[in-house]
């Protein structure tokens, strides 16, 4: 966050927002096309900008403070508060930029109007983007009433804004133009006499609580590093009322200031609390707690949503790691050590602690030393000097190698060729992340139960309200924060009844305990809703795994009997070795038309083998396939339960059904959509669509398409849906009259785009299948899993997770949206995270109750898990399918498998 333009956001913005100012201060006007954003003065040179010398007792807090000084304000402007620069987040910078153009555009607007041109300019209001579009059909009531009423505590805190209050918005203009946002802060900070201490400045817009006497106030300030006198024009633009959405944005800015005042540190997007960091010396890690916060307008008013986030950092430095490796490798051969180091460390992510930025290590420069020099502002400078001067860090070990980081695309555009760093603190590497024990130890700190979480949040707010500094920040704006978490009404759905078959073969209803939301035991004495008998199947295993494979076959036979699924003896194919080739040959040469499924026992989870088997079985020789790992079978006591799960999975893969729920709607089709990037085809994402084919929503038709990555909307939706509709027609003899789409993987920002793009395609599909006259009713629901909303149940002062089936559709929902939160899954540890559903289009005529219950029912329908899941099953199926194709298949699977859940 501190100053260097080289990789800061301010820089990027400078590039983007550049239009006119280019000529003004390009010192070398000789290369105009090079996108070299203007940079003022002796800012850090093109090459290595960041880094901290390895010093064993690092002065962690100091660098930023010291750092702000040399660049922004050494001489005249002395009182640069170190906190100031980071007051505003990125969004605001952009908003500021845009706002500026609007403000200046105001005059021509009026002129045009005066000119008498009939068309009045419809300009977007500044901050209109903070006002969310309403996705609600007319006066439809988004609240339901089904289920027993309960009360829940949330992670939201009420924010009381003044009701009759206005502030003034000013546009700040610097002359000559100042590009660096930090310099701007420093200059503005100098103007306390004119504008007062209470202000909110984001680099372009200045908010003040008072009205400056003149419409345009002119002031002068001296830039510290070159003593240039800069004229600052502060032009009054507008009044902002406390009721406007813009004001909420200002409060968000203020809250960031508040967090700074609490001694928290900004790392990437969130503020963290270094004083509360917990060190785990065993793994040389450090867990730093922080909060993700946002203030938004909800149904219950303006609320502050807070959630706990964690940053995991390493205690030791990169150089320490290198030394450790050096001693462990044995110190004779440098070559071996270097090879080992390259293998272990190249590609890891490191974080430089002086500026909290992360980089990927692309290479290690063994010959390089901190005493090497680089060009800085045209003059050579050693790394040691640079760090001393720039960051006040003394490089102790002058004999350490350098890390090389390739410039990113953006750096390259700026003309930067290579960056070198000195070894520093590194982040959690992949290796550590995959280490189960480490993650377990970390989980103690990161996975916080509901009671602990709520307590931490409330304590945080209490601290804030108790702090005098915070009062100083908030009181001029007449903003208050509650320190008690918001309590809201919610509803509890009862456990659903599942349809299975009793031993006689009649339909039977089973139920389950709502607490666990798991019916693996409840379904034990019942048979599958629709079992596929396996007459002939292949069991392929390497010779050394013949024992577990035979056990599996026996167990499958036994558990299958219990489930009403007759599993005959397999054709066993024993491989003499476990090469990929052998597996593929065994599949190809033994496959015939009667083989219903291929079961492969694999010794380990080697990805290329799995991919090869799946490619072979999904593309070339379409047949359902099941890969079982040796590890899974080795759990001796649990083989029966493992076999049960495998048998259910096999049943689904062959087109059977396991259980059902009653959905009383006629002619309904549920569609789940998700997308996943393809690891092999660069720039491509797989979009998967899974559509239900029958009334019970137990049979699905699955399809995929490719669309360019980055653009999240599916392009081939029309085709996919048309095929699904035709299939539906083939089976039922009629086309569905109601369709409900569950769309996963869309961020808030893309809502509008997806809405326009995909809903349109859906209509095109209707027309292409049923002609102009076919206009089914449909609803389009956005499913979001990664949200910061948390819900807590209170039972006799005991804070816990809400039970599965808990629904919230008021207070913390958006005022103009048709949305609700549903907790459908049960978690054993940690805090449950509700799923957000947002109905952006609804013509089904369902009441909110119906929609909510349908969604809840669908979370029961994922056959790979004998319990409820977080999202509606079609969504999860679509995710699974997209994942398989993106990770393993890399192309379209055979259409012959489309009516089966072969990808489970």
């Amino acid at each position: 966050m501190s100053d260097e333009p080289v990789s800061g956001r301010a820089r990027g913005r400078g590039g983007r927002g550049r239009g006119k100012p280019q000529e003004q201060q390009a010192p070398g006007p000789t290369q105009p096309p090079a996108a070299q954003p203007p940079r003022e003065g002796p800012g850090p040179g093109p090459a290595p900008s960041v880094g901290r010398g390895r010093s064993k007792g690092p002065p962690r807090q100091q660098p930023p403070q010291e750092a702000a000084a040399p660049i922004a304000a050494p001489a005249t402007i002395v009182q640069v508060p170190p906190a100031e620069p980071s007051v505003s987040g990125r969004g605001v910078h952009r908003g500021g930029g845009r706002e500026r153009s609007h403000a200046s555009g105001d005059v021509p607007t009026e002129e045009m109007a005066r000119m008498g041109l009939e068309r009045t300019y419809k300009r977007r209001q500044p901050y209109e983007r903070y006002v969310e579009a309403a996705y609600k059909e007319g006066d439809k009531d988004p609240h339901g009433s089904y289920g027993s009423k309960i009360e829940l505590v949330t992670n939201y805190f009420r924010v009381t804004l003044p009701s009759e209050f206005k502030i003034w918005q000013y546009h700040v203009n610097f002359n000559p133009e100042v590009e660096s946002i930090r310099v701007k802060y420093a200059l503005i900070a100098n103007l306390d006499l004119v504008i007062g201490t209470v202000k909110c400045f984001d680099g372009g817009i200045l908010y003040l609580c008072k009205m400056l006497p003149n419409e345009v106030t002119e002031c002068f300030a001296t830039r510290s590093y070159d003593n240039a006198v800069i004229k600052i024009e502060i032009k009054r633009v507008a009044e902002v009322f406390s009721t406007s959405p813009q004001f909420i944005q200002i409060v968000n800015l203020l809250f960031k200031k508040v967090q700074m005042a609490m001694g928290m540190k900004l790392i990437r997007d969130h503020y963290f609390n270094p004083t509360q960091a917990v060190k785990i010396l065993k793994h040389k890690l450090e867990v730093m707690p922080g909060f993700s916060t946002s203030i938004l307008r909800y149904e219950a008013g303006n609320l502050l949503g807070v959630d706990i986030v964690h940053k995991i950092l390493r205690i030791d430095t990169f150089l320490d790691c290198l030394y450790n490796l050096y001693y462990s490798v044995g110190q004779q051969d440098m070559q071996i050590f270097r090879a080992a180091a390259v293998k272990q460390f190249v590609g890891t992510i490191v974080m430089t602690r002086h500026n909290n930025k992360t980089y990927r290590v692309d290479d290690i420069d063994w010959e390089g030393r901190p005493t090497n020099t680089f060009e800085k502002g045209g003059t050579p400078m050693t790394y040691i000097d640079y760090f001393k001067e720039r960051w006040n860090i003394t490089v102790v070990d002058q004999d350490q190698p350098l890390l090389v980081v390739k410039p990113t695309e953006r750096d390259r555009r700026r003309g930067e060729i290579r960056r070198t760093f000195i070894c520093f603190q590194s982040c959690l590497s992949e290796e550590v992340r995959s280490d189960f024990n480490v993650m377990k130890d970390l989980a103690i700190h990161t996975r916080i139960g509901p009671d602990g979480r709520l307590k931490t949040l409330e304590d945080f707010l209490k601290q804030i309200n108790a702090s005098q500094r915070v009062k100083e920040i908030l009181s001029p704006w007449q903003t208050q924060l509650d320190s008690k978490a918001l309590t809201i009404p919610a509803r509890q759905f009862p456990a659903e009844q599942l349809l299975m078959k009793n031993p006689k073969g009649d339909l039977a209803k089973i139920t389950y305990d709502i607490k666990d939301a798991d019916w693996s035991r409840n379904m034990r004495n019942y048979k599958l809703l629709n079992a596929v008998n396996i007459q002939q199947w292949l069991l392929i295993y390497p010779q050394k795994l013949s024992q577990p494979a035979n056990d599996l076959a026996d167990c499958l036979n036994r558990v299958g009997a219990g489930m009403g699924m007759r599993i005959a003896e397999p054709t066993r194919v024993e491989l003499h070795n476990d090469r990929n080739d052998s597996f593929l040959n065994a599949i190809r040469q033994n496959l015939n038309q009667n083989v219903q499924i291929v079961v492969t026992v694999a010794p380990n989870n080697k990805k290329d083998r799995y991919d090869a088997i799946k490619k072979s079985c999904c593309i070339e020789n379409p047949v359902p396939s099941q890969v079982v790992l040796q590890k899974t079978l080795m759990k001796k006591q649990g083989l029966m339960s493992v076999a049960t799960k495998i048998a259910i999975q096999m049943n689904c893969k062959m087109g059977g059904e396991v259980w059902g729920v009653e959905i009383p709607v006629k002619g309904l089709m549920i569609v789940g959509i998700d997308s996943y990037h393809d690891s092999a085809n660069k720039g491509q994402s797989v979009g998967a669509l899974v559509a239900s084919l029958n009334k019970e929503c137990t049979r699905y038709y699955s399809m995929t398409e490719y669309h360019p990555r980055g653009n999240d909307a599916l392009n081939g939706l029309t085709t996919l849906l048309a095929v699904a509709l035709r299939k539906y027609h083939d089976i039922n003899g009629f086309l569905p009259q109601k369709l409900v789409f569950y769309r996963d993987g869309v961020g808030d920002g893309q809502l509008e785009f997806v809405y326009k793009h995909e809903v349109e395609q859906v209509f095109a599909a209707f027309t292409s299948v049923g002609g102009e006259g076919y206009k089914p009713n449909m609803a389009f629901i956005i499913v979001k899993k990664r949200i910061n909303t948390r819900l807590f149940s209170v039972d006799r002062n005991q804070i816990g997770n809400p039970l599965p089936g808990t629904l919230v559709d008021s207070h913390i929902t958006k005022p103009d949206w048709y949305d609700f939160f549903l907790v459908s899954q049960s978690v054993r540890q940690g805090t449950v995270s509700p799923t957000s559903y947002n109905v952006i289009y609804d013509k089904t005529g369902f009441q909110a109750d119906h929609m909510q219950r349908l969604t809840y029912k669908l979370t029961h329908m994922y056959f790979n898990w004998q319990g409820t899941i977080r999202v509606p099953a079609p969504c999860q199926y679509a995710h699974k399918l997209a994942f398989l194709q993106g990770q393993s298949l890399h192309r379209q699977f055979s259409a012959l498998l489309a009516d089966k859940l072969f990808y489970l």
Partner: protein
């Protein structure tokens, strides 16, 4: 800023301004004019307004065109003259195709020698200036004789360029698994270059060095790698491999040359068909190192796989027989033992009986049941002719739930002829089979086209064509749809299926 578009009112204002200037010797500003002219503009008759509008239109045309033509982009290039790279590439490929076809004139297609090349490189990820070759594989074939010779070598491309270690390691791990300093790698570039030259032409001084082929997507890599080797060989002679053409274009041209296609086959199809995964792990086609590490990214294996795919696609179209050099040698790797279930089944049954009496009662219920409703419905084919598509080899047919069916596979295979499209194709030793496949994403390219679908039937000696416009087909049903999509892959034959027939059961 582009020039503002004019409009009728503006034209009127300008005229008025001129008039006022002439009368009063002082011109009001345009802003003032806007207010002044408002009333009089409203009083104008529609005809008068129309003339002004027409004037504005003309002005727009004249003024709007020229500046636009001369507008520059941010690179200082004139936008109107800018060429799209994709378009250029497409044009280049068209020229290459024409060149190819021309060079074939008067020759028997089956006897022309083709060379396919592939390089494995150090990394491809970032926009790099040059690619560093680590392995080269090349084959030479004629359609009639199959692959006659091959060339393979590991190349020592030296140290990883500074700062690219991560890319190199990642690329190696994800694909070819060649270690960074590899003892098998050849650093004698001159010898390697001579080998490459000798492989393609006997006399490198001849003018007509034939083109060498690679996948269109890898063209840049191949050219860059050839340049790299040539540069390091320091022969003093120019690089003879000036023509590196796309393999997709070769297949396309050959298909069109066969004269059996009125409609251009889809390029995506050809591409997909070339990149089939069928022989990915056949050990006999790989180099020793990659066979050892069981890795499919072997240059030699890749060129061989591409060649096999070409033979497979073209054999029926151009009418040549697939012999041993047209197919990978898969005979040697009988690496498994098959244990049929018959006796084993009984044994387990008895064991179950002994151990769990309760289970037995369950088992006794395993009388053949009527097929579950859903399944039946799902699998009911819509129209007769399309039976085979819905009842593919691996979809359970309703029959399978009936008793007795499973006991004798032999009976099945003799009494029920495989549906057309899945049966063995007579007159072809490999018994290649057609396999329907859906590539929905590719629809754009076939729309409106006429499709030819081949159905094999013994009576017609393996070939009959069915032509219908897509629209007609599409309207029928979804089965047809999948069939239709399958037809797009006209040339896909399934040797793996054929192997099944050959090796075991029919």
């Amino acid at each position: 800023m582009p020039k503002k578009k004019s409009n009728g009112y503006l034209m009127f204002m300008i005229e008025e301004k001129k008039r006022i200037l002439a009368e009063t010797k002082q011109a009001p500003s345009m802003q003032e004019m806007a207010v002044l002219c408002n009333e009089s503009w409203k009083r104008l008759s529609p005809e008068e307004r129309a003339t002004y509008n027409a004037m504005a239109k003309r002005a727009n045309l004249k003024g709007g065109q020229d500046p636009d033509l001369m507008r520059l982009d941010n690179q200082g290039q004139i936008i109107a003259l800018r060429k799209s790279a994709a378009q250029e590439a497409a044009m280049l490929r068209t020229r290459e195709k024409q060149d190819l076809v021309k060079s074939w004139e008067g020759q028997d297609l089956l006897d022309i020698r083709f060379h396919v090349i592939n390089f494995q490189v150090m990394y491809t990820d970032e926009p790099v200036d040059y690619y560093l070759p680590l392995e080269v594989g090349m084959v030479s074939f004629t359609l009639r004789d199959g692959i006659t010779k091959h060339l393979h070598s590991f190349i020592d491309a030296g140290e990883v360029p500074h700062g690219n270690m991560h890319l190199a390691l990642k690329h190696s791990e994800n694909t070819h698994k060649i270690p960074l300093s590899f003892e098998q790698a050849d650093s004698d570039f001159l010898r390697l270059w001579t080998r490459l030259e000798k492989f393609v032409v006997s006399d490198p001084h001849r003018d007509d060095v034939p083109p060498i082929f690679c996948l269109a997507s890898e063209k840049v890599i191949v050219q860059s790698c050839l340049d790299y080797i040539h540069y390091h060989a320091r022969t003093g002679e120019p690089n003879i491999f000036t023509r590196v053409y796309a393999l997709e274009d070769l297949v396309m041209s050959l298909l069109l040359q066969s004269g059996k296609f009125t409609v251009k086959p889809s390029e995506t199809q050809i591409h997909d068909s070339l990149l089939r995964n069928q022989w990915d792990y056949v050990s006999s086609i790989r180099c020793a190192y990659h066979d050892e590490s069981d890795c499919s990214y072997c240059s030699l294996a890749i060129v061989k796989r591409l060649s096999f795919a070409i033979f497979d696609m073209l054999s029926s179209v151009l009418g040549f027989k697939l012999k041993e050099h047209h197919m990978p040698d898969e005979s040697s790797n009988q690496t498994f033992t098959v244990k049929l279930p018959s006796s084993a089944a009984r044994r387990t049954d008895t064991r179950v009986k002994k151990k769990k009496k309760k289970k037995r009662t369950m088992n006794s219920e395993f009388q053949p049941k009527p097929a579950p409703f859903e399944l039946k419905e799902l699998r009911k084919p819509n129209s007769l002719s399309l039976c085979h598509l819905s009842d593919g080899p691996n979809i359970l047919s309703v029959k399978q739930n009936s008793p007795g069916e499973s006991q004798s596979r032999l009976q099945y295979s003799t009494s029920i002829r495989p549906p057309p499209g899945f049966g063995p194709r007579p007159g072809f030793p490999g018994d290649s089979l057609f396999r329907p496949q859906v590539c929905i994403c590719d629809l754009g390219s076939v729309e409106g086209a006429t499709l030819a679908s081949r159905h094999s039937s013994p009576e017609q000696n393996g070939s009959c064509y069915l032509k219908a416009p897509v629209d007609v087909l599409r309207k029928r049903s979804e089965h047809l749809w999948s069939c239709l999509s399958g037809m797009k892959v006209i040339f896909k034959m399934n040797c793996s299926l054929s192997c099944r027939y050959k090796h075991g059961h029919i």
